[in-house]
């Protein structure tokens, strides 16, 4: 079943001049159609200004389309009332964890969402506990969020989202500000939630090596969707990626270089182990 259906989406950011007339319109998303199945882990790649974030913000009604329609679990996102039913279905995690944390303790922060939904106390406490458990942050329940590492803060934000029981989590460069271990923590948490809870994940990033385990990668360029396929397929098309101002993970590039130099390696090698094993077979 398709949980997200985007049909011919266009989004223009309009600028008004001093008289209030339309001066310039920037077409950030230019006729994109995309469907995401329930339970999929989908990654969106694209250069700065390619329209990735703009696209994602239509899924939970942070933006409304200039043209086209977006459906989320069958709801027409732009028209559905009340809007919080849409936002509860799909939550968004942003780049900077410090901008998303408001509680003085981890527990309080995670409770903020469901509390606003009017969940009764007993149920609320249970949800907080379970969500922290799922995000791997149960041990920090009473800590002050300020003292956590970047990766831990993002996991608190994820727990806060889980407490609202969304079906979809949209992540807009959630790892951009994290150190390598923090990046890994966040990525592993999301894969686990995807596998075990069946949560649909839409993951936006500029780090190519983070998306090799996604079910599918879509690539955006200048507002258009230009590639759409499994990681192995997308990352074998190195030249096309470069035209999109992107690249492939280091391992994939190394394998491609070795192949060019005459070693009989497959296309689209995605992991260190894969490359090592392929080289061993050549020995």
């Amino acid at each position: 079943m398709n949980i997200i259906e985007i049909l011919n989406l266009v989004h223009e950011y309009r600028e008004l001049d001093e008289e209030g007339n339309e001066a310039e319109a920037l077409r950030a998303v230019d006729g994109v159609s995309l469907t995401v199945e329930e339970g999929e882990f989908i990654a969106i790649l694209g250069h700065n200004g390619s329209g990735k974030s703009t696209l994602a913000k239509h899924v939970n009604a942070l933006l409304t389309p200039t043209e086209g329609t977006v459906y989320l679990s069958g709801m027409n996102v732009a028209e559905h009332k009340p809007i919080w039913e849409v936002r509860r279905e799909a939550g968004m995690i942003f780049q900077n964890p410090d901008n998303q944390i408001i509680g003085t303790s981890v527990e309080e922060d995670v409770a903020f969402g469901p509390e606003n939904m009017g969940i009764p106390t007993e149920e609320l406490l249970k949800r907080v506990e379970v969500s922290l458990e799922k995000a791997g942050m149960a041990a920090y329940r009473l800590h002050s969020p300020n003292k956590l590492s970047g990766g831990q803060k993002q996991r608190v934000a994820i727990a806060g989202m889980l407490a609202m029981r969304p079906k979809v989590i949209l992540m807009d460069e959630p790892t951009a500000m994290l150190d390598p271990v923090g990046r890994k923590e966040v990525l592993e948490t999301m894969h686990e939630l995807n596998r075990q809870e069946g949560i649909t994940v839409v993951f936006i990033t500029h780090y190519m090596e983070e998306v090799v385990d996604a079910d599918r990668i879509v690539v955006m360029k200048d507002g258009k969707l230009v590639m759409n396929g499994a990681p192995r397929e997308v990352f074998s098309r190195l030249e096309e990626l470069e035209e999109c101002h992107l690249t492939a993970p280091e391992v994939t590039r190394l394998a491609a270089e070795l192949k060019k130099a005459g070693l009989d390696l497959p296309d689209g090698v995605l992991s260190v182990d894969e490359l090592v094993n392929a080289l061993c077979r050549l020995k």
Partner: protein, 281 residues
């Protein structure tokens, strides 16, 4: 010696009985023209440390010398220090504020009291150093792409003609091409004699560009060594929240599988050469 950091400590709670040190007895020195990377997990003390170098923070103990002079001394000319040691903060484009790119880049020289012509000459030179297209000089900085905004912000620092350029995570949030652009700008500046200190979470970037790496862990400086030395200790790096570049793990894997390869390899180019060598190509 351009910069000497001697046994500096910093605590945000000096009154506490057992104060916690954000920077804990750190010493190192920097020579003119070096390209140094500073790495460490979030909260390891990197940002605190770099703020000493241009006098934004004073160490609780220890001293920082710039060309032999203690920058925390009474009467030390901090204004000049901050021109000589340019600090580019994280997401520097958030600090853009003028109506045109050129005006924004002129802001530093203007505050230095330079005449208008000199301001513009410096701004234009700085913009060409970061390879900012001349056709966009009169554009609003807010209408630029992410990568260009950041280059404009870096030009704002360069217009003050610093001897040392410190960049805190200059590639965060940029696409791969934008990352490469910014790092190549750093390399060019370094080629022209400017000392570059790059704070980064991207091991791949650090491996490709820096000639010396400083590693911070919980306020302590635990490595001050060339990349091949630091990355060959990838186990230790993982313990402290970092990692080695992906290709280093490939070499380790090959070694384990019985190939006679070197493991102190950390760029795609070098890895390719080394693997082709053992395959006799």
């Amino acid at each position: 010696m351009q910069i000497e950091v001697k046994d500096v400590c910093y605590t945000y709670t000096p009154e506490a009985e057992q104060p916690k040190f954000a920077v804990d007895h750190v010493s190192f020195s920097v020579e003119e023209g070096e390209f140094i990377a500073l790495i460490g997990h979030t909260g390891s003390g990197k940002s605190t440390l770099i703020q000493f170098l241009d006098g934004l923070l004073k160490p609780t103990s220890g001293e920082v010398l710039f060309h032999g002079e203690n920058v925390a001394a009474k009467g030390y000319d901090l204004k000049t220090l901050r021109q000589k040691v340019g600090l580019v903060f994280q997401y520097p484009e958030y600090q853009l504020f003028e109506t045109t790119v050129l005006k924004d880049v002129c802001y530093g020289p203007k505050n230095m009291g330079l005449p208008k012509e000199e301001q513009e000459a410096r701004a234009k030179e700085a913009l060409s150093l970061v390879r900012f297209p001349e056709a966009s000089y009169e554009k609003s900085p807010f209408d630029l792409s992410g990568g260009r905004k950041r280059r404009a912000a870096i030009a704002g620092i360069l217009a003050m003609k610093p001897e040392v350029l410190i960049l805190d995570e200059p590639t965060a949030g940029l696409d791969p091409e934008g990352r490469e652009d910014i790092l190549n700008v750093c390399r060019n500046l370094n080629d022209q004699g400017i000392t570059v200190i790059l704070v980064s979470h991207s091991m791949e970037d650090v491996a490709e560009y820096a000639k010396r790496i400083l590693v911070m862990n919980q306020g302590k400086l635990i490595y001050d060594a060339p990349p091949e030395k630091v990355f060959s200790d990838w186990r230790k790096l993982e313990e402290i929240g970092l990692s080695a570049p992906e290709v280093t793990y490939v070499m380790e894997g090959l070694r384990k599988a019985g190939f006679d390869v070197r493991t102190d390899v950390f760029t795609v180019e070098k890895a390719k050469e080394e693997i082709l060598r053992v395959f006799g190509k």
